[in-house]
Symmetry: C2
Subunit: 340 residues, 2 copies
């Protein structure tokens, strides 16, 4: 990739799971990076190594508040705005649905206006959730999805759909140069152990020798993309002149049942895993798989990290993470299991 | 219906087509009425007769701004909040898509918070547009729709879907007592002659002896509900204890092609009509028909006004309206036609 020495990228939500990897990769590409994050569902610890870097600045702030002065002062240098600001896992985004919706709509609007003001290119990280519980497989970008706008996931799903609508509207009348990524399930180091996502849930349970919780019958499918691949795709999309404003799916097209995921984790762990089954949450999609033909054609991108390799890195990271900071009740449960 | 003497109803968007009829009907039901409207796409002339009434107050304001002091002063008396605030016809809501989206999301949030603060019941007027270009007919409330979230109609369609999501979220945690109406095509006096809706377009063209513009082949269907029926339904829904927060379709299930609508107009007019065909706009739904089983069961409501009767009243109103204020260029064209 081309070097971007002297240019500044703003990463809203840069302390989150994908955001923190993106900040690092942007620094490696020569960008100065300003990370704006409210630390509500992200973690400053994800930025520990980055904060030592001269070209990295962390600004604590919520995209719903007026943009911090520190950011406005650097408006003239900013050429890229990545909007990753929003809680992304169901228990976290459902904890305050009003804030989730407003973050997606008002936050996106505010950053689009900042892009209009600065002339920076804007990238919205949208989501496979815009397809809801899809009735077509795999999902192509022009499939309009099957989303409940009244259910408990709607604050996120509809918030992202609304954010896409606004982003495309800014592009349609030339107010901003935009890109829209629809991110499918992604996993890797820096995931929040508490955010209830399937990979982090299962890996943590496995490491803590707890029974693994499976929702439904385990036959629902997902596609899991390793975070390094995803970050590469986001940057390729941002820098692509050819991509244009229309949404582009980013994810791993390799479809996997949750049961197969458990088997892949079991293959890494030194001990056998126990499984307990729970009912599927409301509106939980039963199948989700990206068609990435557009990403292949326009960006020349496809995920390269094998699941076994990505999972091994993820398990190793969670092992260190849990070792440093095992939640008290889990420690007790592990102790109990260990005592048996 | 029960009388509500002494209670106050807030009607946001009360100077619009449906809003103005609603204000009148609420006054007749004994409510004091405060109409909040920014007059962007609505018309103060719709309120001419109402402004003489003691129990009616007009407050000019945009739901995106802080609620006017005059409104906050009456917070203690307000028991009903109707949210009709949003441009509703494609050329008008597409003129400023950012404002349309924010009106639906931020405006609804603000009025929901006002409902939370006052304890007033809140009714969102949503729309059949949440079904997009539906793949099932007729549409029942639990059909999730087929909506493009990136097209030029998305600012409205997705804005309303997001507004529904927020409204249901307020209900789910007991922050507000809410009702959601999905309004299908409605027509009648007080429609804006310039808003590009099919009934007003065709009636005005017919009255001005201009060729009638048909988009597509005229075989796309709509269902047209007379405004008096719609207003009755909105009030029944608001006052219903049984209805609950889930959306409820309001409209006329009688499906009609646009060509049949033209024939119905022609039957009223004293002169034959000429038709010109134009291509269908992007994302224009080809078919839309409400299933109103829920409204029948829960509210005991169905539309009662025959199309011929409603159209006759509408034509008579537009005749007076255009007589008062014929646009200059149309006058010239009419004069030219008359001279031939």
């Amino acid at each position: 990739m081309k070097k971007h020495n002297g240019e500044t990228a703003l990463v809203a939500g840069g302390a989150g799971f994908i955001g923190s990897h993106l900040c690092r990769a942007l620094l490696q590409q020569g960008y100065r990076v300003v990370c704006l994050d409210n630390l509500l569902t992200s973690r400053r610890s994800n930025l520990l190594a980055l904060e030592a870097e001269r070209d990295f600045t962390f600004v604590e702030g919520d995209v719903l508040d007026p943009l911090p002065q520190e950011l406005c002062d650097r408006a003239g240098d900013i050429t890229r705005i990545y909007n990753l600001a929003c809680a992304a896992s169901p228990p976290l985004y459902q904890a305050d649905p009003e804030h989730t919706m407003l973050t997606n709509v008002v936050g996106t609007d505010k950053l689009l206006r900042f892009a209009e003001q600065t002339g920076a290119r804007f990238l919205l990280t949208s989501t496979s959730e815009v397809y809801g519980d899809p009735e077509r497989h795999p999902q192509v970008e022009d499939y309009r999805g099957y989303v409940s706008c009244t259910g408990p996931r709607a604050c996120y799903d509809e918030g992202k759909r609304a954010a896409e609508a606004m982003t495309l509207d800014f592009a349609r009348v030339g107010r901003a140069d935009v890109r829209v990524a629809r991110i499918f399930n992604t996993y890797g180091p820096n995931m929040n152990p508490d955010d209830g996502r399937v990979v982090s849930n299962l890996v943590c349970q496995a490491l803590l020798r707890l029974p693994l919780t499976l929702y439904g019958d385990g036959r629902q499918t997902r596609s899991f993309c390793y975070v390094a691949d995803m970050v590469q795709a986001l940057m390729l999309l941002m820098e692509s002149e050819a991509a244009g404003p229309d949404p582009i799916n980013l994810g791993n097209p390799e479809e996997l049942t949750i049961t197969e995921l458990v088997a892949a984790i079991e293959a890494i762990m030194p001990h056998p895993l126990e499984i307990i089954y729970k009912p599927l949450p409301v509106d939980d999609p039963t199948r989700r798989q990206p068609d990435i033909s557009r990403a292949r054609a326009v960006l020349g991108w496809h995920p390269e990290t094998a699941l076994s390799e990505g999972l091994a890195k993820t398990v190793a990271w969670f092992q260190r993470e849990l070792g440093r900071n095992v939640p008290a009740k889990e420690t007790r449960r592990v102790a109990r299991v260990a005592a048996v």
